[in-house]
């Protein structure tokens, strides 16, 4: 049993946790729920030795433990899958998994064979069909997330903490993960599970702990609790689920049209003959499994692979020659990228600068910055997107995951785009904020933007899209108007025919 007693943690200017007491029981999965910035990750980091300084105490099987670092926690059998990926891109899967706990032979040399074999076993257990020698750099985000999970499984820990493990992986992988969680539970392990996908909690969790503004507001068992109740506990009030019956924009005016877009990289064909159009005021959902080419498509439109692909793009009927994201932004195309840590944030800069970055030049006067304008811009988005930060000068890396996402969204909106592309826009975002983002998407569409939403969450796609495009192996395998879109049809189109 892992017990937290009166845990408190403050950062400069922020009280992240206050008087938090809870217990995690063996053989049970405990869901830690709360809005973005509620303190979930902070609490888990304390339990796993990432933060050594805190108030209160932690008891593991009745004895007080105090970890100076994650390594000590691991040795006591507590391991954590962090919300953000912590892999070294230029090392292989095996090297990453065994990092800091390499197996050696009796000469003290690396026992590569044994490590590779164990990695292969783990990968097999996680049904990730890649070689153990492949560099992590060459994996997709979702696959990298699976490697993180493998790292935690390697240790055979008695406590496993999972901080949003499913935020980057697709349905099929979620299933595999849940299978493993069930197995771990049967083995009597202590499991803490954080996710903003509430449906998952009903499937997998036994107990729950609710955090709100750094305090535990409720604990209990999941039995007999429904979706709305959970949301109420988290947010402190009811929120209506978003039902939109927006008539799709019927002005047949094409805003963005893409014709015969194909992209070969090496001998791999990433995109095959993609043609579609996006109308003004329309929300186009793009659904597909991992590796279907969704992100690649958006990247091509953004000019990240200029010169490597063929095909034609037009904005308002005018041919587009986008050779860099800069050109794209000028033309009115922006992307909220999938991997916010790698592609989105400038972690060491403050919230204000992260928001204003794309339009600094137009905010300024005579080539100098206009601090006033910059501040009011940031202030505006802080309020309208409800970004939770002690002040605008906070370094963005200290914000909670969901709030970081909002900062990037703010930066994109600030450019006043014609076409807004969102790659997994609500990854790691709490229900409440998710709803707000959906509302925002619809509002923006009302105001005449064309919006492309890529998501691996089908409910999300169904909620916001006017039309749904399904990608499979780099090709468009189906187009569904919202009215006739059925989950089964969409899924069927997304799954490759040839295996």
């Amino acid at each position: 049993m892992l017990v937290a007693e009166k845990i408190g943690k403050r950062f400069t200017g922020v009280i992240a946790l206050q008087d938090v007491s809870m217990q995690l029981r063996p053989g049970r999965v405990t869901a830690i729920i709360g809005e973005n910035g509620a303190g979930k990750s902070t609490l888990m980091k304390i339990l796993s030795g990432v933060y050594a300084e805190y108030e209160g105490r932690i008891l593991l099987n009745g004895a007080e433990v105090r970890f100076a670092n994650p390594k000590e926690a691991q040795e006591k059998g507590i391991s954590i899958i962090h919300q953000e990926l912590n892999l070294i891109p230029d090392l292989s899967i095996t090297e990453n998994i065994f990092l800091g706990r390499e197996l050696t032979d009796r000469w003290g040399l690396l026992n590569k064979k044994a490590m590779r074999e164990r990695t292969a076993l783990l990968l097999q257990r996680l049904k990730l069909n890649v070689s153990a020698d492949i560099l992590v750099r060459d994996l997709k985000v979702g696959q990298q997330q699976v490697i993180e999970i493998a790292k935690a499984l390697l240790l055979e820990s008695q406590v496993i903490i999972m901080d949003e493990p499913t935020s980057a992986i697709s349905e099929a992988e979620v299933e595999i993960l849940f299978g493993i969680i069930e197995q771990l539970r049967a083995e009597g392990k202590i499991i803490a599970y954080i996710s903003h996908k509430l449906d998952e909690l009903f499937r997998i969790a036994d107990d729950f702990v609710v955090l709100r503004d750094g305090q535990v507001t409720e604990t209990g068992t999941m039995k007999g609790i429904d979706h709305d109740a959970i949301v109420r506990k988290m947010v402190g009030r009811d929120i209506a689920r978003l039902e939109h019956n927006r008539a799709p924009a019927d002005a047949a005016e094409d805003l963005l049209s893409v014709a015969a877009l194909s992209w070969h990289a090496g001998n791999k064909q990433l995109l095959k003959n993609i043609s579609f159009s996006l109308r003004r005021g329309e929300v186009l959902g793009i659904f597909g499994l991992m590796g279907a080419g969704r992100t690649e498509l958006l990247e091509c439109i953004l000019g990240l692979h200029a010169g490597e692909h063929t095909g034609d793009m037009r904005l308002n009927g005018v041919s587009l020659d986008v050779r860099s994201p800069r050109d794209a932004i000028r033309a009115g195309l922006v992307l909220v990228p999938e991997d916010r840590k790698k592609d989105g944030l400038i972690p060491g800069l403050d919230v204000k600068t992260n928001i204003s970055l794309s339009i600094l030049r137009s905010l300024g006067r005579n080539g100098l910055l206009n601090n006033q304008a910059e501040r009011s811009l940031a202030e505006h988005y802080k309020d309208s997107l409800r970004i939770k930060t002690p002040n605008l000068e906070q370094q963005v890396r200290h914000l909670s995951g969901g709030n970081q996402q909002k900062v990037i969204l703010a930066r994109c909106l600030a450019t006043n785009p014609k076409v807004l592309m969102l790659d997994e826009p609500t990854r790691g975002i709490d229900v409440n904020a998710k709803n707000e983002i959906y509302k925002l998407i619809l509002e923006l569409a009302e105001s005449g933007l064309g919006i492309i939403v890529v998501s691996s969450e089908l409910p999300e796609i169904l909620t916001v899209s006017d039309r749904i495009l399904v990608l499979c192996e780099g090709k468009i395998s189906g187009t569904f108007p919202r009215a006739t879109a059925g989950e089964d049809d969409i899924l069927k189109a997304a799954i490759p025919k040839t295996i």
Binding site: T12, G13, L302, L304, S324, P325, R326, A328, I329, R330, L335, P337, K342, D343, G344, L345, I346, P347, G348, L349, D350, T353, L357, S358, L360, R361, G364, G367, L368, L369, P390, N391, L392, E393, Q394, Q395, H398, R411, T415
Partner: protein
């Protein structure tokens, strides 16, 4: 308005370097009665002026997560160009012609040379993706070679009293050299804090890919930064040449090390994205005062090097401890 964490930390670091400098000065003035004189004060400022100029350029480069090893050689080459043009102009034997250069023309020519070499660095780094360390290491050799070629290995001396004014003249009671470095610092502070380019520099050092997706023209910013580095090295070249009244073929050797030291002591992170111009200036002053004091105290030059190295280590350790506790 509560002060942001980053500002708070930056000012804490700077405050500490400042205290360190103060302690250093007090100690030196107790140990040597020659230290705390106005005469010596100007002396120190004059001595560090070249390093300040170069280090300002180095700071910009390092903020983008780059490095510039070629500044010493660029300094030497532009100094040699200035001296050569001033003294000999460009002879054109075929037509029995000779193009003379005014003082201003000479200076402009030297700055253009510095800019061109800096631009070349930036071009290699952005167009051909040569790592900054390698590209500027190559330039270190190339520019040194060019210096040797243009001077044929001999100093070019006696450059006239007008040119001499830069290195030894005074203006409004302040040495010209100090004016030059002060103006450089002010311009750089404005650049870094008040212009979009300044922000882009931090953004690129902080996360290049995110900066690219935000629509920042990464290559252009980098080329500008290396070009500025080259220009400031040329400014240093003019200053050194004028002060010695001579362009030495081996001028500026190891200057890149002193300037990297100033940048690092000033709290700028070599991995980019974090640091300030004023920090670097403080770093340069600390090195300058240390050099000066050790000379006044008659410490052997060998020990001076050991001590300088230890100071660099100490300053980085203190800086690291600060950023960890927060």
């Amino acid at each position: 308005m509560p002060m942001g964490l980053s500002n708070y930390r930056a000012s804490l670091t700077r405050f500490q370097s400042f205290i360190a400098l103060l302690i250093l000065c007090i100690a030196l003035s107790l140990l040597s009665n020659k230290f705390l004189t106005i005469e010596n004060g100007w002396n120190v400022l004059r001595q560090i002026s070249v390093n300040v100029c170069i280090s300002v350029g180095m700071t910009l480069v390092v903020l983008t997560a780059g490095i510039d090893l070629s500044v010493g050689s660029i300094l030497a080459f532009s100094g040699a160009v200035a001296a050569g043009l001033l003294k000999n102009g460009i002879p054109w034997p075929a037509h029995d012609l000779f193009i003379g250069f005014t003082l201003l023309g000479t200076i402009v020519a030297a700055l253009i040379v510095g800019a061109a070499l800096g631009f070349f660095n930036g071009w290699m780094i952005t167009r051909f993706k040569v790592p900054p360390f390698v590209a500027t290491l190559a330039m270190l050799t190339i520019a040194r070679g060019l210096t040797m070629l243009s001077t044929k290995g001999y100093p070019i001396s006696s450059l006239g009293s007008k040119f001499d004014f830069i290195g030894s003249g005074w203006l409004l009671g302040i040495p010209v050299l100090v004016w030059i470095s002060a103006v450089t610092v002010i311009l750089a502070v404005v650049l870094v804090r008040k212009t979009p380019l300044g922000r882009y520099i931090y953004a690129i050092g902080g996360n290049e890919q995110a900066a690219r997706l935000s629509g920042i023209h990464i290559n252009r910013v980098k080329i500008i930064v290396y070009t500025i580095g080259g220009i400031l090295a040329a400014v240093g070249g003019i200053m050194v040449t004028s002060r010695l009244d001579s362009a030495q073929p081996n001028a500026g050797t190891n200057y890149e090390l002193d300037s990297i030291a100033a940048v690092v002591i000033g709290g700028t992170s070599l991995s980019g994205g974090r640091g300030t111009i004023m920090g670097t200036v403080l770093g340069a002053i600390i090195i300058g005062v240390l050099n000066n004091g050790l000379v006044l105290l008659d410490v052997s030059p060998f020990w001076q090097q050991v001590i300088k190295g230890l100071v660099i280590l100490l300053s980085v350790i203190v800086d690291k401890m600060n950023s960890q506790e927060a």
